[in-house]
Symmetry: C2
Subunit: 450 residues, 2 copies
């Protein structure tokens, strides 16, 4: 498929031929229209938005960046806002209310129906990143005493605006979730059958609670290959669904957070180029300061051995090679441990298996690296002679073992202490590995060379 | 929702009550049954697998780990294999053939229908990780001259086994993809309407080519919020679809690869605990060796200044603090640049914007870190006195600027050279940043302190 090419559309905008533009746009996918609008200047964007066919404008709106959404809300009439809020899915309205400035929030709420307003307020009260805060209420609910024909008629009457009609949710008089039924099962079943008889009512009906964390919701959808998962309240009443397109966004968001934490950054949801310099500084300086100060430990170890380093040639030059190799080796182990934890491949109770595995890997890697280092120093005629070569190689061997043990155990320890394993990755482990490796190195040097 | 509890099932296995076990299992979700089978010993697992109701056993099989799948294939009869291959979705059969040992592949192919065998071979010939290699052929194809009623009848006759029937694909006599139609549009439309008239045939019909990389396929599905995307061959004929559950797996796989590459690991698809020690060593030792050898550069810079370091107290102790801070600062920038590239937030043409932004961030971060370092040395009464404190702080300021410039530019350079930006992250950048920072540091020291 080709990249979208907006040039011909742009030339229509410049020519002011909005009739032809409208025709062209109404042939396009809503996602692409939103992308095109995003490239226009504010005033032109709003003019073009207004000429969109009424049946697609809400969907296009939902794909716009929140900035552009705010611009549109600020400039359209109350009647238009009322129509828009009505046409949008509830989860998109909630996202909108969370993103736009306060004065626009007031306008949106004022122009929503009392029912929608109440729902928006309920959603806003769920904990951040909970199932309740990300769900939508646009699902098909069917009473479990309906027949197939009655269900199809009901969907035909009410289903058009739902976020998905492929999975319908069966409830009883008290709105308790009793089972699910796929649209295909309705289409292909005897029209007189009762939903209660043909619905999927596994002992293990799959659902999440409004209070569950969005990461858990994503896990469930992924684990069971679902297109949507029902959300129930504490009384087990159906209150919403979360669909797979939102799950994709959540997975992406959570992954980015892990990348950022592992690089000693505060997580941010903003796009890189749109983030102001001072916000970037704020996200970075905290960890940089903490790690710089904690590196004092490494510095003071060197300081204690400065006399020895000054006397024995060749020792100082090896410092960054030993700590660098230790840092890389530890980083490998911590990354694998953090990801295996995140994906559920390992659990706390596996700690001994993980440790034993890493020690064996470390012994082999350490031996190879130590030998390679010895060869390197020999070939380059490094200063210091054989004793120094052997000391440095042995220190490297020990550094790799220390690094891999710390690298695999700290994420598990973090998990045990209910800290996010990703935040103590890379840089934090380096500081610890650096100090311990240097202590081993200088200890060996003192024993063998003085 | 509760974690699955297999204890009661286990006790049924131990008691040998397979009748009750079968009843319990037939009430459960297929994903959970597969998980339960995975916890059993091989022989018991196969016994339990065999008592599963016939209508769910293929689906349960598709959720098993490939090892367990191989064990089952090895022990069931040819007739059972024939039935299984017939019941599985084609993409699951292809995955199976790719994973099991060669003798089992022969058995599978021998017991597949000639038609399936031909399809399997075609799929195996698509490039690895291409749309062709991950697609399935189980989609609903409808001729665009059918009426709605004819289409529904056709789906009713042939659709039950399809991977999805919610989006159907309209083709002409030559199997060219002409449009798509949702099941809901069929259910709710006039029964005499022609598909050709009501199908979705946007100018921008969304599809991918068999040769497209799976990452591109994932992008398209994510970008357009699709549940499945059609795959066409070079003549634009419909040959398959890729569904969103496979897209989720691809996104996960690609993300893990990025994590691994950024930690100087060779990417691996195996679960951590199941990967043999020697494979773990193989995935790690290559980069460790390369980085250790390249750290020689840093070592030789120190070696050149060893006389100076031996004379001026306090200089050596600051080495790991300067290089560590530079490494962390560079790592932040490279991670952000790599992820922004991966997510399409920045492109090559943005390089000047990125560089300018990072330089401004670096000036502020560097100034703060330099000042903090000066205070740190002052408070701790570090050896060397004011001149050394100022030199070290100035070197730290410069190191941060060097690190952030290199950190943001190298991923873009890699992209320009068509190298994966993730592989030159963290460790590679550290080596370069270490060397340049130390050169700056020793240069300053030479100028001010000697």
């Amino acid at each position: 498929m080709e990249e979208m090419n907006f040039e011909s559309l742009m030339s229509l905008v410049e020519k002011g031929d909005f009739t032809l533009l409208r025709n062209e746009l109404s042939e396009m996918n809503e996602v692409d229209i939103a992308e095109f609008l995003g490239e226009l200047d504010r005033d032109v964007m709003i003019r073009v938005y207004r000429i969109l066919p009424k049946d697609i404008s809400a969907e296009v709106f939902s794909y716009l960046e929140s900035e552009d959404q705010g611009d549109i809300i600020a400039l359209i009439s109350d009647t238009e806002i009322n129509k828009l809020v009505d046409d949008l899915f509830l989860d998109d309205v909630v996202d909108l209310v969370e993103e736009v400035p306060a004065n626009l929030v007031t306008r949106i709420l004022r122009n929503a129906s009392p029912e929608t307003r109440k729902l928006i307020n309920t959603y806003l009260n769920y904990p951040e990143d909970s199932a309740g805060s990300i769900m939508t209420n646009e699902m098909v609910e069917l009473h479990d005493r309906l027949t197939v024909q009655e269900a199809i008629d009901h969907i035909r009457r009410t289903g058009i605006d739902k976020e998905t009609i492929y999975t319908c949710y069966c409830i009883d008089n008290s709105r308790h979730l009793k089972g699910t039924i796929d649209l295909s099962d309705l289409v292909f079943n005897d029209k007189d059958a009762l939903l209660r008889e043909i619905m999927d009512d596994d002992k293990q009906l799959i659902y999440v609670n409004t209070q569950d964390d969005q990461e858990h919701v994503a896990e469930v959808v992924k684990h069971y290959d679902l297109l949507a998962v029902p959300v129930v309240d504490n009384e087990n009443r159906l209150v919403g669904i979360v669909t797979i397109d939102d799950i994709l966004d959540i997975i992406e968001e959570e992954t980015e957070e892990d990348f950022e934490k592992m690089a000693a950054l505060l997580p941010s949801e903003d796009e890189y180029l749109k983030t102001p310099v001072l916000v970037l500084v704020k996200n970075r300086i905290g960890w940089l300061l903490v790690l710089m100060i904690s590196a004092t430990l490494t510095g003071s170890i060197i300081q204690n051995f400065e006399d020895m380093l000054a006397v024995i040639t060749g020792l100082t030059a090896a410092i960054p090679i030993i700590t660098g190799t230790g840092g890389n080796a530890g980083n490998q182990s911590s990354t694998l441990a953090i990801r295996a934890l995140a994906l559920g491949e390992i659990e706390l109770k596996d700690w001994l298996k993980v440790l034993f595995k890493e020690i064996r890997v470390a012994l082999i890697c350490g031996a190879i690296l130590g030998a390679a280092n010895f060869a390197r120093m020999l070939i380059l005629h490094n200063p210091g002679g054989m004793e120094v070569y052997i000391t440095v190689s042995a220190a490297m061997f020990i550094a790799v073992i220390i690094a891999k043990m710390i690298g695999c155990m700290l994420p598990l320890l973090a998990k045990l202490l209910k800290i996010d394993p990703a935040v103590i990755a890379g840089p934090v482990i380096s500081t610890l590995v650096d100090s311990l490796s240097l202590l081993a190195y200088f200890g060996l040097a003192k024993a063998f060379l003085i």
